[in-house]
């Protein structure tokens, strides 16, 4: 029986904690990093964002969507 080898995973770091910023609906360039190609918010298990910042990020993305800075649904999927 072979021994299972586990590769140690690199711990994800919260982008906002590291850069000492907060999610802002005006920073579309940053928000785009946390939505997938469909326009959906990326879960924190994939993005590594801290729980508090993920909640703020969700609000910021929704505000940006309302102002038509970000799409609700990507154009190629409509």
């Amino acid at each position: 029986m072979g021994r299972q080898r586990f590769r140690s995973r690199r711990r994800k770091v919260c982008y906002f904690t590291q850069s000492k910023t907060e999610p802002d609906y005006k920073d579309v360039g940053v928000l785009r990093r946390f939505v997938n190609e469909r326009g959906k918010i990326v879960p924190r298990r994939l993005s590594g964002v801290s729980p508090a910042n993920q909640r703020k990020l969700a609000v910021a993305v929704k505000r940006a969507r309302f102002l038509a800075l970000l799409p609700f649904v990507a154009d190629n999927i409509k």
Partner: protein, 127 residues
């Protein structure tokens, strides 16, 4: 009473001319000041492509107003902005006093300009 700070982002119709937009921006500023708000900052982001069509328009002119005042200002100003046909969207949020200080412009989605032609570095040519 403690002054509250608000951020109002207004999206004007993108097909309007510069003169009309200038008047509209001044109009919104006057509206806020008429409601006894103190307008701390007006940031014009300019014309940007909308992520989706609003009232059959593809572009909008974004302006951010940072203002302070009593708690009923967003409601009163919103009532007037909602009736303005030249305003496609507006959003007022409660901000912190840190919003009063000017920040760098948000990242634009406009295509990047083509860099000027620079001489290629000397080196062996690849075929």
């Amino acid at each position: 009473m403690q002054e509250r700070v608000y951020e109002t982002t207004v999206v004007f119709d993108g097909v309007l001319s510069e003169d009309v937009l200038k008047k509209e921006v001044a109009g919104v500023k006057a509206l806020l000041e008429g409601e006894k708000a103190v307008v701390h900052r007006v940031d014009e982001w300019g014309r940007r492509e909308l992520a989706y069509r609003i009232r059959k328009r593809k572009s909008g002119y974004y302006v951010l107003f940072v203002h302070g005042g009593a708690g009923d200002i967003p409601q009163k100003a919103g009532r007037v902005l909602r009736l303005n046909k030249k305003v496609l969207r507006f959003l007022t949020i409660a901000a912190t006093s840190a919003a009063i200080a000017p920040k760098s412009q948000p990242v634009t989605v406009a295509p990047a300009a083509v860099p000027a032609a620079t001489p290629a570095p000397a080196g062996p040519e690849r075929t």
